[in-house]
């Protein structure tokens, strides 16, 4: 399928912050995170949401961050664009997108980055879209903010984008308000808005969780196609292993604010190295013999305000031993190209 026609005006962001560095150094990863730590500080307690997360995403690669509620996956994603509440949040570590240091960026450059080089799609389209403006107006606003083109050109671009995301009757839908569209269409509109400036990196925070299964599968296939055609990198956050299997090239599993396993999707999802991933796989209801108990992981995720010392998964782990309670496992290599933070895996010399 041929690449759709693109608005002639170049986006300021891709020409500015990210473009130059990337052209100079094509081998560098598109996005790189090193030892990211995020804490939420309130009067009552400090919540350690993210505790030392490091990963890299290459251009055109899809990374899926897999985790349950409280694992810190959404916070990680939002930290990449500094979308967390500024007063309560303390971020440490390094976040580099397109060669630029996001955490040290001034506000204006950050605004250019958001929507320009990096775009985000959220879980609940009804709250992510402004209910008093039509879809066409909202997409047009993003386009005009980043390219400075005229209203008419922005509207034409918005129509182009709605066609790109396969919304039926796109011309009519340009003038529809968010509440007039169904959940699946709203999500497509949000994807259209996110793609309006040809981002190099798309961040997706559980975009299909609130959708029905038949709509979800359509949207996943759409996202996969768009990602391949536009050559975007994508960081996709989800709690659903099935969704991860459908869309990811690489999978990173998070638990209690740390990445416990990462590697190619096929390897991690079919032969997990970390006990948590194995437990997740075993407890996902998928073809087990009906009438028999499912292998559930006992216990609940830890309270992020008071993490246990040592490995955070140890209280629930069937393979733990004494050292697990005291030592935080370092990343180890169970097989080439994979990582698992578990003391049961031998550390290579």
């Amino acid at each position: 399928m041929s690449r759709p026609a693109i608005c002639a005006t170049r986006c300021r962001a891709t020409a500015g912050w990210g473009g130059r560095e990337m052209i100079a150094n094509p081998g560098a990863p598109l996005a790189e995170v090193r030892d990211l730590r995020v804490r939420f500080v309130t009067r009552e307690a400090t919540l350690h949401a993210v505790n030392g997360v490091s990963f890299a995403v290459a251009a055109g690669e899809v990374l899926c961050i897999l985790g349950e509620s409280g694992s810190g996956k959404s916070v990680t994603l939002r930290a990449l664009l500094r979308l967390l509440p500024p007063r309560r949040t303390r971020i440490e570590g390094q976040v580099t997108i397109g060669g630029a240091d996001v955490l040290a960026m001034p506000a204006r450059a950050l605004r250019d980055l958001r929507g320009g080089l990096v775009s985000m799609v959220f879980q609940e389209p009804m709250t992510a879209l402004d209910p008093v403006y039509t879809i066409g107006q909202q997409i047009g606003e993003t386009v005009r903010r980043h390219t400075g083109c005229s209203r008419r050109a922005a509207r034409a671009r918005a129509l182009e984008l709605l066609e790109l995301v396969r919304i039926p009757s796109p011309a009519r839908r340009l003038d529809a308000y968010p509440h007039e569209l169904s959940g699946g269409l709203r999500q497509r509109a949000m994807i259209a808005m996110a793609l309006s400036c040809e981002p190099r990196l798309l961040l997706a925070d559980e975009p299909t969780t609130a959708l029905d299964a038949t709509v979800q599968v359509q949207l996943l296939i759409l996202l996969r196609r768009l990602q391949q055609e536009l050559g975007m990198g994508m960081i996709f956050v989800t709690h659903d292993l099935g969704v991860a299997a459908e869309i990811a090239d690489t999978v990173a599993v998070m638990y209690a604010g740390r990445i416990v396993e990462s590697g190619p999707a096929a390897a991690v999802l079919t032969a997990p190295a970390h006990p948590y991933t194995a437990g997740l796989l075993a407890s996902t209801v998928h073809g087990q013999r009906p009438g028999e108990d499912i292998d559930a992981i006992p216990g609940s995720p830890p309270d992020l305000r008071a993490l246990p010392p040592g490995c955070s998964f140890a209280p629930r782990c069937s393979r733990r031993f004494a050292a697990c309670r005291t030592t935080i496992p370092d990343p180890r290599v169970p097989a080439p190209g994979r990582m698992a933070a578990c003391l049961a895996i031998p550390a290579d010399g």
Binding site: T214, G287, P298
Partner: protein, 349 residues
């Protein structure tokens, strides 16, 4: 009544009619909601639904959003009054002159709601919420508290640790356990579970499903399990009912419906499940478009707008329920299966 909370013997003293009499029969249930603002238009939430629930079984109800399954659940408990149709509980018509009163029905049927947080009074400690049912039925407060302690233990929560806590201090899985304890505290024979695990993490989902199964054995319960997650329904149900836009499209033993689906919608639903194996991704969406609006549903077969096999007869005539040739308990409402319909692909789809 307290004696019913110990191991309930197989012969329940409240049983009328023996093993073979269905516990619940629903006949042509209909519920339309007027749309405020648009006169004459109605949301046809439940539009002529009939089925039976046998004693001791788990009937799973699947469908996407807008299919009416939550409305149906409320109709069965008379939390909403049906516009038409009747309910028969263990041989007695509900809310009829010589039948069983709604109040008495609610002593024997209870419900667990989807939103585990909204189902609990935020100002009441958890043990009081559980004790409320018996208390309202006439048990004295101290005795009701004892029942509450017992129920909390049975759902796996330490009553001393969790009893005095408030809902906001509990995790999603723990809240749902409390809801289950609350539903069982009055000693019902049947429990309607409206998406009880949908909002939970996968690992907690597995725990709660195991718990539900164990409780069913212990208390000799009958379950009506509503969910949009087909894998979960397959795992826990004996029979399955598939709903689309307020109507039943297919019903039968779980294995038959899942292995040999008769209705194109069921086939599409089953094909929309992610495979959990990155090597076997879904390449084409099994069904396009979004679930339509229950206001002004399509004429004839409601599914014809999205059905790959739709023909003239589907747009004009309502399909009649037809049993599968090899299994009379497996019934689907589709012109493809009806020898009298005149569909061109009869017997070949």
């Amino acid at each position: 009544m307290n004696s019913l909370l110990l191991d309930t013997p197989a012969t329940d003293p409240r049983d009328r009619g023996g093993r073979n009499q269905p516990l619940l029969i629903a006949r042509d249930l209909l519920k339309h909601f007027p749309v405020s603002g648009a006169r004459g238009k109605k949301v046809q939430a439940v539009d002529g639904v009939s089925f039976t629930v046998l004693k001791g079984e788990t009937l799973g109800i699947v469908g996407e959003s807008g299919c009416g399954k939550s409305t149906l659940a409320r109709l069965l408990l008379h939390l909403l009054v049906p516009d038409r149709g009747e309910l028969v509980f263990d041989g007695d018509p509900v809310n009829a002159p010589h039948g069983i009163a709604v109040d008495a029905l609610r002593r024997q049927v209870q419900m667990v709601f989807q939103d585990s947080h909204a189902s609990l009074n935020p100002r009441m400690p958890v043990r009081d919420s559980v004790a409320f049912g018996p208390f309202v039925r006439g048990t004295a407060k101290p005795a009701a508290r004892v029942i509450a302690r017992d129920m909390l233990k049975k759902v796996g929560l330490d009553p001393d640790l969790f009893g005095p806590r408030y809902p906001h201090e509990l995790s999603g899985g723990q809240k749902q356990r409390v809801n289950i304890a609350r539903a069982l505290a009055t000693g019902p024979r049947m429990v309607i579970l409206d998406e009880p695990v949908s909002a939970l993490d996968k690992s907690i989902e597995a725990q709660v499903l195991n718990l539900l199964r164990a409780l069913k054995r212990q208390f000799n319960l009958t379950y009506l399990f509503i969910s949009h997650d087909l894998n979960v329904v397959r795992h826990i149900s004996d029979r399955v009912l598939v709903m689309y836009l307020g109507r039943v499209v297919e019903i039968g033993p779980a294995e038959a419906v899942f292995e040999r689906p008769q209705h194109p919608y069921t086939q599409a639903l089953l094909a929309s499940r992610p495979s959990l194996d990155p090597a076997r991704r879904i390449l084409e969406p099994p069904i396009t478009g979004d679930p339509p609006n229950p206001i002004d549903p399509p004429a004839g077969c409601r599914f014809h707008t999205r059905c790959p096999f739709a023909e003239m007869v589907c747009e004009t005539t309502d399909p009649a329920p037809v049993a599968a040739p090899e299994l009379s308990s497996h019934v689907a409402s589709c012109h493809l299966r009806d020898p009298l319909s005149g569909h061109s692909r009869l017997g070949r789809a």
